[in-house]
């Protein structure tokens, strides 16, 4: 049975572009899918699950790339400027979604679209130009080879300053498995090589020029919940003070002092020079001004200036990956590499962690090239070489797992399911270890941010070293975050809001009532669907793990000395709480409960 749902909040329309056939078609959303998957990541997961055949090569024309937004995108809801890109990842082989802030999402939705499906491969490079009336496939040959900044400038000159551009840089063109899709020049849908998938389709850029507004079902109720949500942000010290004042790198000193900031490829978690990379240092040395994304009052973005050149960043994750993980404590070098990653279209996390992997392989004599710890000049050069697949960069472009495996030392790659780990050593926050291991897209802090509970005390601090009762909390966050990604809202709203606020905003926007539990059930449904995709691709319990270093090499110094992650018991509990079997397969009863049977 198809539920009749009015397209309020949603635009009610999906576009499909087949680049092999140079065709564009439009379709309505199916009513049941609207209610079950809501939008954004849910919509992307459903489309990728339905359309991507098992075992296909992610960089082949058979792969599908889905851009999607949610019912709150482009509205007054806080942080409602985000969009999601979903596909099968060339880095991990799992289902992948990457999201990005800025201003592209609302402009995309204003073209009257909830999602854009891109399949096939164009014969020559193309650019998609979208308005509310049509989608044109335009020649993109002149843009091929350009950096992100130049491409964005050219396309804005051509289509007007109100146009918003999402594009790839040379990294995506060269099918680098760490390639991002960039918008607003400096904002990245970064993870899992989504930029390489776009490059494999010969799609250089998408230009969105829509003008349609999102209709809200109950404006008075909606604006009341939005007002109360903003009041929460204004009162919460993290969203009202820490992030606006120092950006995300406000976490550097705290994580370092607690022994959670990974250094030297996770061989240590505390370093006296970490202060150089802190939010305070960025503010003093580089900051021009704070910057907000669409409808955001947090303003964690950093407009910075280095050697007379204005750019954005670095973020906390970037100073870790290109800095502490490589033992580089020179903020200027990290910032230079960050700017370069943005222009070349690279994920800073995966790029930095892969370079750190190369440094350790080199130290062990397993790599013919010499790459020394702390060599900032070399790091910057390797960023460029990676995007262009030159020299050693050609190997780095494959990511840390493939690099370390080829060198005969897979344990040196700090990854889970092939995705390079983010900036929190789970030996100092055990629940975060479970979150990395069970993440459907690989090692990631945005599927479940146990750091909130284990370190930051949001909403309450819990024992970070125990493994007891962490599974339930990880699952709860995974379901909640999957729900947030359907709307599509920034993770930082979670510092103050919970499923109650999200479900109220959603209900008011679309005129269909979701309780907090309904909202969490949407997230659980998405999580199980993503898991089914991965199982279909051969993933299972063996892949729900962490690098051996984190499991069996206790830290020898610092505040987390003696700690390792006891993953096994947490994983058993996790499967049981999820209602999965001991191999991590969802049982029939769970699939029935979440509406996937």
């Amino acid at each position: 049975m198809v539920t009749e749902v009015r397209a309020v909040g949603w635009m009610g329309r999906i576009a499909e572009v087949d680049l092999s056939r140079s065709s564009v078609s439009f379709a309505k959303w199916d009513g049941d899918d609207l209610v079950k998957f809501v939008g954004g990541r849910g919509l992307g997961a459903k489309m990728v699950y339905d359309r991507v055949q098992p075992g296909i090569e992610p960089l082949s024309p058979e792969n599908t790339l889905v851009f999607s937004v949610g019912p709150l995108t482009g509205t007054a809801a806080p942080t409602s400027g985000r969009y999601i890109v979903s596909t099968k990842s060339p880095l991990t082989g799992t289902i992948m979604d990457a999201s990005s802030g800025g201003f592209f999402g609302p402009k995309f939705k204003a073209c009257g679209l909830d999602a854009l499906i891109v399949k096939g491969r164009a014969k020559t490079p193309v650019v998609l130009h979208m308005t509310e009336k049509e989608i044109q496939i335009l020649d993109g040959v002149d843009r091929w080879g350009e950096g992100v900044f130049e491409t964005t400038r050219h396309l804005k000159e051509r289509f007007g300053k109100d146009a918003e551009v999402a594009c790839i840089g040379p990294a995506g063109e060269n099918l680098v498995r760490l390639a991002a899709i960039m918008n607003d020049c400096h904002r990245a849908a970064a993870r899992g090589g989504v930029g390489a998938v776009m490059g494999s389709k010969n799609l250089k850029a998408i230009v969105a020029c829509g003008k349609m507004k999102t209709e809200i079902a109950d404006k008075e109720r909606f604006l009341f919940v939005v007002k109360e949500s903003n009041r929460v942000f204004d009162m919460h010290p993290i969203t009202s003070k820490a992030l606006p004042r120092f950006g995300t790198a406000v976490l550097v000193n705290l994580m370092n002092e607690l022994g959670v900031l990974p250094a030297e490829n996770f061989r240590s978690t505390f370093h006296p020079e970490a202060e150089n990379l802190s939010g305070e240092s960025i503010t003093k040395k580089l900051l021009v001004r704070a910057k907000s994304c669409f409808a955001c009052r947090i303003a964690c973005g950093r407009v910075t200036k280095l050697d007379g050149v204005e750019g954005e960043g670095p973020e906390y994750e970037t100073v870790y990956a290109l800095g502490s993980c490589c033992s580089i404590w020179d903020l200027e070098k990290v910032t230079e590499a960050n700017y370069l990653c943005n222009d070349l279209g690279l994920d800073t996390i995966s790029t930095g962690v892969t370079i750190a992997c190369a440094m350790e392989l080199s130290e062990r004599g397993l790599l013919s090239d010499k790459v020394r710890w702390g060599d900032g000049e070399r790091m910057v050069e390797l960023v460029r070489q990676t995007a262009l697949r030159e020299g050693l960069g050609n190997e780095l472009a494959e990511g840390s797992m493939r690099l370390a495996t080829r060198c005969g030392a897979p344990e040196v790659a700090m990854q889970s399911k092939g995705l390079e780990l983010p900036a929190y050593d789970p030996r100092g926050a055990k629940g975060q270890g479970l979150a990395y291991a069970t993440s459907n897209r690989g090692g990631c802090h945005l599927r479940s941010y146990m750091i909130g509970l284990e370190i930051l005390g949001v909403p309450r601090r819990i024992d970070r070293f125990t493994t007891v009762n962490k599974a339930g909390l990880v699952i709860s966050q995974q379901n909640l975050y999957a729900g947030m990604d359907t709307l599509v809202m920034c993770r930082f709203t979670g510092y103050g809001l919970d499923e109650d606020y999200y479900s109220r905003m959603l209900s008011a926007a679309i005129g269909v009532e979701y309780s907090a539990n309904d909202f969490m059930r949407v997230g659980e449904r998405i999580w199980n669907l993503e898991r089914l995709f991965n199982i279909r691709e051969g993933f299972g319990r063996k892949d729900d793990t962490l690098p051996e270093r984190l499991l069996s090499e206790p830290l020898t110094a610092g505040p987390t000395k003696g700690q390792a992650v006891e993953l096994g018991p947490m994983l058993d509990e996790y499967y049981r709480f999820r209602g999965w079997d001991q191999n991590g397969r969802p049982t029939r009863s769970v699939l029935e409960r979440v509406g996937l049977s």
Binding site: F224, R460, V468, L473, S476, L480, S515, A516, N517
Partner: protein, 204 residues
């Protein structure tokens, strides 16, 4: 009885049982608290003193199927179960804080008048059921209210608070009582308050 999966969870339940008792929100053996663990919950045993909860005073109960654990578990076990099945909660506290109960006898809902209360709670619904303890109606009404609110007061009986952490459910219980106390005292003073968000938050 305590189960293998209980681990140290009883200590957490014991800690907050003692806190609630010491604040006078759980009088002697009354009230109960529980934590969800997947498809089970761990709940205070019926008749266990709130300030002396030991490992054998915490009972494991299946959330989806009835079993013999109901012989020992709390009188309000079915309410806790209903809350877990209808909300994303991972912890539930049921207490008998005096000002919350007083307010439930006077008002139809409690809108906090203090800044902390309206920030955390927005609104505290009050529900009224014929059988205020262990009834099907109580299960339904409490779980329904907690779908949309952090805490609820059962008229003439006590509070239920739901959260992801036991500490958070304890916090909500304390906030409900503090906000109820302030509202009652303002009400008792007979003086028109200079700050009142009732009109705004009654819509929440």
């Amino acid at each position: 009885m305590g189960s293998a999966s209980l681990g140290d969870m009883w200590k957490e339940i014991s800690k907050y049982g003692k806190k609630l008792h010491d604040k006078g929100y759980m009088v002697s053996h009354s009230g109960n608290l529980s934590v969800r663990s997947g498809d089970k919950m761990h709940i205070k045993r019926r008749g266990a003193a709130a300030d002396e909860i030991g490992p054998e005073d915490v009972i494991e109960v299946d959330l989806f199927e009835e079993d013999s654990s109901i012989v020992l578990s709390s009188t309000e076990t079915m309410v806790h179960r209903a809350v877990y099945l209808e909300t994303p909660a991972l912890a539930v506290v049921h207490a008998h804080p005096p000002y919350s109960i007083v307010c439930s006898l006077i008002f139809d809902e409690i809108i906090p008048m203090d800044a902390e209360g309206d920030y955390v709670l927005r609104k505290i619904p009050i529900i009224s059921v014929k059988e205020v303890s262990g009834s099907k109606a109580l299960e339904e009404e409490v779980s329904k209210a907690l779908k949309h609110y952090k805490g609820v007061v059962v008229r003439g009986h006590g509070t239920f608070a739901a959260a992801k952490l036991l500490e958070e459910a304890y916090h909500v219980t304390c906030m409900m009582e503090a906000s109820s106390q302030i509202r009652y005292l303002v009400h008792a003073s007979g003086i028109q308050p200079k700050r009142d968000k009732t009109a705004e938050f009654t819509k929440w």
